[in-house]
């Protein structure tokens, strides 16, 4: 696990910054809930009757007056979008940074197979995403307890599981793309994550665009659906798993035969 350890060492500051930013926002958001909850009776009707805006963020389906509804929309967006951008950044730079920084030659001149390099880099990505989500869960638990809320654990677990799976999917797709790049592809990664997010908004707005939910990992992290149905949509998640598997397969197949120049 030498490469995994090295990846961890070189990426830990970035992980710390992203984790701190996400959990700070999450915590602040949860702490302002009690104040908002007092006015929620009026606000709930307003939020659910804001037309396209309400559909886009699923606010027509959930009760904003309850903590879980508020958490699903507000905090879901923070962890969903923030986590997705971080996962995209991790995945897209994992392999391409070696060629951009001309360190690929250094790495490959050692007695270590390309398969092992890929496996260890992938392990480190999973480890870092797991840590970020663990920190988010811990921060949420702490903040929720501090404001005296005890949300349904099953629903919370489903929400966090969905965000975690979504981040893994985006990271794996970006990892696959990274194998094809010779220069850094940060723009591609962040652009892809943002595109996935907007595809889900479009799918929420237009019924004809519902099929987009099969393409974007934000389809199965829709908090309104998870809270209402008490499950993660299996079809959307299965499509996500296929895309993730395709990303990993592309990375292994292409990188193992790629010319490092």
């Amino acid at each position: 696990m030498i490469i995994c350890r090295h990846e961890w060492k070189t990426g830990r500051i970035s992980l710390a910054v992203w984790t701190l930013a996400i959990i700070s926002l999450l915590t602040v958001c949860i702490f302002i809930y009690p104040e908002m909850a007092e006015q929620m009776e009026e606000l709930n009707d307003t939020f659910s009757q804001m037309g396209s805006f309400s559909y886009a963020f699923g606010m027509d389906k959930i009760n904003f007056g309850e903590f879980i509804g508020f958490f699903g929309v507000e905090c879901g967006n923070i962890l969903g979008l923030g986590g997705a951008l971080f996962a995209a950044l991790l995945g897209i730079s994992s392999l391409s940074k070696e060629e951009k920084g001309q360190t690929a030659e250094f790495l490959l001149s050692h007695p270590i197979s390309r398969v092992q390099i890929l496996a260890e880099k992938l392990s480190c990505i999973v480890f870092q995403i797991t840590l970020l989500n663990a920190a988010a869960i811990a921060a949420t638990a702490f903040a929720a307890a501090a404001i005296g809320e005890s949300p349904d654990l099953r629903t919370m677990a489903l929400l966090f599981l969905a965000y975690f799976l979504m981040q893994l999917e985006i990271a794996f797709i970006c990892f696959g793309i990274s194998a094809f790049l010779r220069q850094g592809g940060v723009g591609i990664g962040l652009g892809l994550a943002a595109s996935f997010y907007f595809l889900n908004l479009i799918a929420n707005l237009a019924s004809k665009a519902k099929f987009l939910k099969y393409l974007t990992p934000f389809g199965y992290t829709e908090s309104a659906d998870i809270i209402t149905d008490q499950t993660i949509n299996g079809c959307y998640a299965a499509c996500g798993a296929l895309f993730a598997a395709a990303g990993i397969t592309a990375a292994f197949v292409w990188y193992c035969r790629k010319d490092i120049t």
Binding site: I2, I3, H6, K9, T10, G101, Q102, T103, E105, F106, L107, L108, S109, H110, P111, I112, S113, R257, D259, I260, T261
Partner: protein, 291 residues
Amino acid sequence: MKAISTAKLTKYYGKNRGILDVDLSVTEGDFFGFIGPNGAGKSTTIRTLLGFISPSGGSAEILGQNVQKDRTKILADIGYLPSETAFYNGLRVRDILRFSADLRKQDCRTEAARLCERLALDPAQKIHALSLGNRKKVGIVCALQHKPRLYVLDEPTSGLDPLMQREFYAILQERNREGATIFLSSHILSEVQRYCKHAAIIRNGRIAATDSVEKLGHTGARRVTLYGITKTPHLDGIRDIKHTDHSLSFLYNGTPQQLLETLALLPLTDFTVSEPSLEEIFMHYYTEEES
């Protein structure tokens, strides 16, 4: 045993030529120079040997093992120094040396410390703060610290000052005496002439000549310098003519009799006949190929 053996090794980058039908044979224990100008195919050959790029044709073996099938095993016995050394910014020299040793599953701390001392490299320095020459030294220690059987060095002295170049070659000669094989690419002919036992000259992706450095210098051609005249004499087999105000010199590839007969008729004040330098030999192979 052959340290390096290639047969018709070929690499195309799309439609562009990399190397063509390269046949190389380097015996274990040799100090081998691989000479060629920029873009001739030196680095492509080395990258193919190390498995960074896949050949378009032909085959290559290192220490009796196929470079594609047994890549990982082969790399355990190789110390590689790239022409441009790049490392992970933010780390210190000692972190890079340790990382390289860990990747080889070896404890190289003693040897690394010894090499750092000889090369005047401070292991506590941050990589991003290093000069080009010091970065090169980090690459050298990474390539040498595990005492491999084969050293593959791509333009190893670029960026090193003359004192460090001398120290570096002294270390290589020690390793060579201990039985290791040295394979280095260079376009600095004087260092190849000084240190290498055998050499190959590559031009436009093809091997133009390969032999002992001594024999490569004995091409039959001589550098003839004539003083007191400036007009080129009528003589077959001369080329690379150089004029000065009071002399002219040329490479001569004909018979001594013909040369002496022609010179006897000229109003010379002096003349010299000497063996051409490796640089001239190098040019000889190049002009020969071009013509």
